[in-house]
Assembly symmetry: C3
Homo-oligomer: 427 residues x 3
């Protein structure tokens, strides 16, 4: 992936004013559907009960700004989607600075940055502003215009189901509810769009794939409330894909369990590439794995990220923009997830067809002269065979015999075609 | 416990000449009964078979002393109960120094100390004497008087059963068979007396309590022989309380298993207070846990002590006296055992009532504005919820999420009253 | 074993020209049978299918040599059995040096050594020669004589079954297919011969013994193909005995599982003697444990060695000769294997006959005066009793209470004869 396709896609969806409901989500999903025609778009009506939650009202906004005492328009949504607190109620009134200040949010420690604030579940309004600009506001009357609406409507999400040879599923989740931020969030849906395209090109897929583009939290809860039984039954590994755009770090955050197949494959993919990464525990979670790993759900879901949400200064501010992410950052993350898919597709458990060591020589698999040198040459093949007991998978054996996973895949395929190994039928 | 009530109680029972049977035990139990009127006093007759053992004869002594060649009375029981070897047979004869020497015990390495010696199961007699005094004895005739009796009588012990909401029991054992020694032993029954008073004040106790004051070894064996079935069925955690009087150390000795609920709670109580302690393995045992953890019994019993028996120079000598122990020492140990009781009473396993994360906001449990700051604020609550799977108890979760046990108790109660958590019914 | 009996036996069988079939094996087995009259010699015919393998043709050779251009006889089998590549086909022709070179094997890094080379499964011929001698060969015609035969015959092996009280078996395997090398291999069959003699002298054996002298690889595969079911059922520990002759190192190579009874006993024997050893993982295997631990076989087999095959420069060359091994080396290895046998025979699981601690005093097992000193004296006995739960064996308890295995055997026997312990009937 040396092209900048993913980065270009990020640029396309970055300007959209997304929230957990509303036109921004729909517009984003339409663009994704342009790349993935088989994406299904679902709507859940306002008020629908999803476990402990209800789908909130649909929020849309046409414009929002403040006219300062000098008649200058400031904090305009047209300048930056972050200026308006998400889910702000409609407002059209003139107030004094003192009153306005109660509705302003800024970051004294990052005076140039506009923070990102929402208030989904309590009706209020507010503007986000750089601290420098806030400090320059004069006394006087301010006209506040928020042309927004909160109506009974829908929460919208996208779902792509790809059938493989088995009903067992790999689960991929990403979110589409943040306006105009790059690492968190457009890197996520952009990468997942291109990862989905890659999966669609795979022939003879071993696993099925369940890929969703949802609003964070309420989206995963709503999706689980509709699909929990089948997900619990079929998902063998899952990944919450977010913060995959910058080029500063790799990060790994384990599942709650910490030792699921998803964790094991993700770590193998990172180690195989020799990548150093920041290792986060499940205690440092903050995204939809909160739902996927919750005790009543308990799915095997972890995350490989670049700079993790909450772990970089630009997080949830206007500084998390298109110059914070890069083609290199996105492509590096894409490669890891492509590797994860390929490892999963190839991580079989094999059983020996023979009770003792097979006679490799008669199958052309063993040098005929046995000397000091040749003993070493067949060692990896013999070590692989010695652990193919139908219980250990190739990742396990790769760790035990300290040989790269892909070397073992290649040898195992050769041994399988020679009738020396066969695939084990258990998971 | 800033008062010196426990220390005063130690002073009251210190002078009594206890042994594994006889009037000293009875007198001690009467004084304890003065504090704990519901204490039941039981008698088991001499000769009664208890597993591999038989209750020994009841031993009493009126006076014991030696008249030296100058006519001076030495080694008089009236001066120090330790002078007479426990269970000495009656003697009234005049012997030469050479013969007397065979019956004297002293400690060359601690020349001022009178050692503590007993001979319960072989009939003999002897005197314990400081090595300095022994060295000063002259040749000549010595009159030996031991006015003791060994008769078919009773072994006596005290038992306090306190009913709670559940039949599950916390077991507390201490011993009352050592004459006039402070850390080992009066600190034990004194602390257990006041710990019992504390337990009796608890309202709505989750657990029942089985508290016994017994002679060491034969007492625990006899008690087990009468109560093994019910104890095996009901006891979930137990503590052998001894050596809890001085202020030099804390010590912990694990159960044989090493990872029972008793061990876990004791360690949590010590760690919660930030107490440094000497960690002893079960191999360094020497008291009634020998019986409680024996393979055929196998109860979850451990010990928190101050200076452990055998681990301080004054142990089993006249130097283990009332100046070796202190109010501070006793009260510090009392606090740990009070904490252990309170942790046990509050160490529930909880289950989430919701499949996914509950909506805390609608229950007033979550700040309505989501920003960088507030994400951190609810983290502990969310972490607790994320591990309430009905299998982990609050001690386990406290270790996993690295938050103090009592913080979790408080949050869990709040979440339970809000209907988000419920208690799990398994142990 | 301070005599040099084993070394003398090595000298006797060293000169024989063994291979995986043929007269050398038979002659070696006859000599072993001289020491072990109950050894049974078995023949399996050429072509017989053994799992994935077939018994190869029987190979014999009368003489083999080369006449150089000066008429001098070189590389004569009479000078050193290693000169001829094992399983060389008959040859009688004159060729030029250039052609001869294609059939010569030497070691440039060890110019004085004749390497050891075989070609069992591809028909070819060759000579092994020191690199120095090879460098001195002149241009010209060379007469090559190999008077060998490859015929339908037999593969021969020896088997010694020794019956004990139980059908459970200790398995011992060694190989007899290498010509004229000392550490690898004559040390192996020599040690096993004398170890078998030792086992035969044991009275009232707890276990049965299955001891085999086989050609490496094809021999173990053939033996397993005949005996797998009974071996899987009965063998509780096994040892592949090879490379036990030199005095440089001890080496240990675990079973594939790594924690079988065989591993545990071998490590206990080494630790008990305070022996430092090189610890090899199963990945460094190279002998018949390849078959014994193969997934479909999965027997508990490990190896204690002196210098391990492949881990010393002289390995598989003419330098692995009678001066590389020594009486001290052989006897040291013999002692470890004798200890292993004795530990296995004595490694019982015991159960207490009493629920609580037994009253040792009334059985004369406990000093009657309890004082500081005597408390320490009975500690080991009490610790042993405290862990005799019918599940832990004496090796386990030895590790837990950190006391030597043989001390525990002695105490356990005493306690058993006093009726305080009884043997547990599970494995």
């Amino acid at each position: 992936m040396s092209s900048n396709l993913i980065y270009e896609f990020c640029k396309k969806i970055f300007p959209i004013n997304r929230s957990i409901t509303g036109k921004g989500v729909c517009e984003t999903l339409k663009i994704i559907q342009g790349e993935l025609p088989s994406l299904k778009i679902h709507n859940i009506p306002t008020g629908k009960k999803c476990f402990d939650w209800n789908i909130p009202k649909e929020w849309n906004v046409n414009e929002a700004y403040i006219i300062d005492p000098d008649g200058k328009k400031i904090c305009s949504l047209k300048d930056n989607n972050l200026h308006l607190v998400g889910y702000s109620v409609p407002v059209n009134k003139t107030i004094e600075l003192e009153e306005l200040e109660k509705h302003l949010h800024s970051l004294p420690g990052q005076p140039d940055a506009i923070p990102y604030i929402t208030s989904y579940y309590k009706e209020t309004w507010g503007f986000c502003i750089s601290h420098n600009q806030r400090e320059s506001l004069k006394e006087g009357n301010y006209r506040v215009i928020i042309d927004s609406s909160l109506i009974d409507g829908y929460m919208t999400y996208g779902e792509l189901l790809i059938e493989g040879n088995s009903k067992e599923e790999i689960f991929i989740s990403t979110y589409i509810c943040h306006p105009s931020m790059a690492n968190n969030e457009v890197s996520g849906p952009a990468l997942v769009t291109f990862l989905s395209k890659f999966i669609l090109t795979l022939n003879n897929k071993r696993y099925s794939y369940r890929i969703i583009f949802i609003p964070e939290t309420i989206g995963s809860i709503a999706y689980l409330s509709k699909n929990l039984t089948i997900m619990k039954k079929n998902i063998i590994a899952g990944f919450n894909i977010t913060c995959v755009g910058d080029n500063k770090n790799f990060s790994f955050m384990s599942s709650r369990d910490g030792s699921t197949l998803a964790d094991k494959v993700a770590l193998n993919a990172l180690h195989s590439k020799g990548i150093k990464f920041k290792n986060f525990s499940y205690l440092q979670r903050g995204s939809d794995e909160r739902q996927y790993c919750y005790p009543g759900v308990d799915l095997p879901v972890c995350s490989v990220m670049r700079s993790k949400y909450g772990d970089y200064d630009e997080y949830h501010t206007s500084l998390d923009n298109l110059s914070f992410i890069s083609s290199d950052g996105l492509n590096g993350a894409f490669e890891i997830y492509r590797d994860i898919i390929e490892i999963l597709e190839n991580n079989f458990k094999y059983t020996n067809t023979q009770i003792c060591e097979p006679q490799l020589g008669k199958r052309g698999l063993y040098p005929n002269i046995s000397s000091k040198k040749t003993i070493a040459l067949v060692r990896t093949m013999m070590n692989l065979l010695a652990y193919c007991d139908g219980k250990l998978d190739l990742i396990n054996i790769s760790e035990i015999i300290d040989e790269p996973f892909w070397d073992l895949v290649e040898i195992a395929k050769k041994l399988e075609s020679n009738g020396v190994l066969k695939k084990a039928h258990n998971k």
